[in-house]
């Protein structure tokens, strides 16, 4: 058992070193550690700001005022929460599968952090400008799913396992539209480098060329990081937290940190892919980048405050019957327009037409098929792991 744990830790280390060696080929090691530490600090501050912003935004949507006690307008509330989380007792049930239970938070957190190594905050503010940036981001992002499954399995709790199952099914389904749309954007830009994609747009943002792709990417991204209304695998009201059910204290806060980092990643990717990255007048590049990111974040919080959670069968149907075909359709249309060299406004026209068509189609189908569940509801006894 100890050997297993040691081996697994060693492997995580290797994975990190491998990723870092791709990422920082031949740079000064001390500088690299310093910069990585700085990045982690920045991300932690961003996460703190996000938790405050989310509580404030949700509060306003629900006609409350949100946290007000700690600091002006409650801005120090996240700090108080963080201190509380860290000093809380860390409980581990006696029946867990120990190595998997301990490693799961790391497997979620390490790739979530490594992704950020290639994400540019502005033209020159990036740890490592990787030519295969898009591929790297999506490959690393995909690894976090394993951590969620490990958490569900390792907890040996039936809600945990159901959460793990749901996360596997959901995340692997929504990864397909995410990848295909990323591929479309890369085709338009002619590169996989995140900086080049962002700067290649100028003021002709891809949201103008690809309105449908923007929506598909945003929704698939939300599902990929498990934000409401797609948070079906942690669904507090049915699964009481899903994979995280047996975690507490510092371990739980690692999951929490990773979740918010991933949410911010989706906002950053949407900004880079569709909103022209850091292009904008007067203000410095970083300011524009952050403004756009936080605007997308507010949109995400708005969705959370407005829409109810989907049921698991609706979720899978939406993924496979709406987002996957739409992303493939978009891929084909963009290929055709680029192959025949039609003018760019054809992209916009086709995008708007398909978006409107999809909206009408989905709406009429929803209205005509009154909630006929396609899945058999299974009692908890049947999925229990004895």
């Amino acid at each position: 058992m100890i050997l297993l744990l040691a081996l697994a830790l060693g492997v995580l280390g290797i994975l990190a070193v491998v990723a870092l060696s791709v990422v920082f080929g031949g740079e000064d090691a001390a500088l690299l550690v310093l910069r990585a530490g700085l990045l982690l600090t920045i991300l932690s501050v961003v996460v703190l700001s996000l938790t405050w912003l989310e509580r404030k935004a949700l509060g306003r949507i629900q006609q409350r005022i949100g946290p007000m006690r700690v600091g002006p307008f409650g801005v120090l509330q996240p700090v108080a929460d963080a201190i509380k989380l860290v000093v809380k007792e860390d409980i581990m049930p006696s029946w867990v599968d120990r190595p998997i239970y301990w490693l799961a938070p790391l497997v979620v957190f390490v790739p979530s952090f490594l992704v950020w190594v290639v994400v540019p905050f502005s033209g020159d503010l990036v740890l490592r400008d990787l030519d295969l940036g898009v591929l790297y981001v999506l490959a690393m992002q995909g690894l976090t799913i394993i951590g969620l499954i490990m958490a569900g399995w390792g907890s040996a709790n039936k809600y945990g396992i159901m959460g793990g199952l749901r996360s596997a099914a959901q995340l692997i389904s929504y990864e397909i539209p995410l990848l295909v749309i990323a591929m479309t954007v890369a085709m338009l830009a002619g590169t996989l480098n995140l900086t080049a994609i962002s700067e290649g747009q100028g003021y002709q943002w891809y949201i103008l060329l690809q309105p449908m792709a923007f929506f598909v990417f945003l929704l698939a991204g939300l599902a990929e990081v498990g934000r409401s209304p797609f948070d079906i695998f942690q669904a507090e009201s049915e699964l009481v937290g899903g994979p995280f059910i047996e975690y507490s204290g510092a371990h739980w806060s690692i999951f929490f940190l990773a979740e918010y980092m991933n949410t911010f990643l989706i906002a950053a990717l949407v900004t880079i892919f569709f909103l022209g990255g850091w292009s904008g007048p007067f203000l410095p590049e970083v300011a524009w980048f952050l403004i756009k990111c936080y605007a997308v974040i507010l949109l995400i919080f708005w969705l959370r405050g407005t829409l109810p959670r989907l049921r698991i069968d609706q979720l899978m149907a939406f993924g496979w019957q709406a987002l996957v075909p739409l992303s493939f359709l978009n891929f084909i249309l963009v290929s055709a327009v680029m192959f025949y060299g039609w003018p760019v406004w054809v992209h916009t026209g086709l995008g708007l037409v398909t978006l409107a068509g999809a909206a009408v189609f989905i709406y009429t189908r929803q209205a005509s098929q009154k909630a006929r569940p396609r899945v058999r509801l299974v009692s908890a006894r049947e999925v229990r792991r004895v």
């Binding site: 081996l7 070193v17 790297y136 499954i149 099914a169 058999r376 792991r385 004895v386």
Partner: protein
Amino acid sequence: MDAQAVAFAIVAVVALVSGVGVVTTRNVAHAALFLLVSLASVAGVFILLVAEFLALVQVLIYGGAVTIVLLFALMLTRAEEFSNVRSNPQWAVAAVAALGVFGAMGAVILNDRLDTQELRGPSLQELGGELFTNWVVPFEIASLVLLMALIGAIILARASDSDEPGSGG
């Protein structure tokens, strides 16, 4: 020994040890995770060979998809059915197949007459160009295999759907 050799030694040892872990551990979930580790180490080997694209695809496909599907299937089974797996009746066939592959690859490597040359990672454009011109037939055949698997899965799912209504999904 230069840094690259050290890195290769570490990655290779991890790949081999976790490979042994896959077949020796009694716990199927642990075996699946060992498999992930082994595949990730292979991605490390690709990086040492300056094949960064291949390495990332390895992580994406094997880390992000194959292992997840394995774990997913595992969670749908009952763990206690597998907790006592100690022997596999097919071990002899597996041993023959494994030794055969090992022998064939060993022979190829030992008879290697390839020119040694400077390591150079091909650009993505070169890779895509080669794949869609010189190697388009093998590429299409590979995708045909996947398509067949996909259609087969749909047929199987449909068949069970009509046998016991409402059990789909």
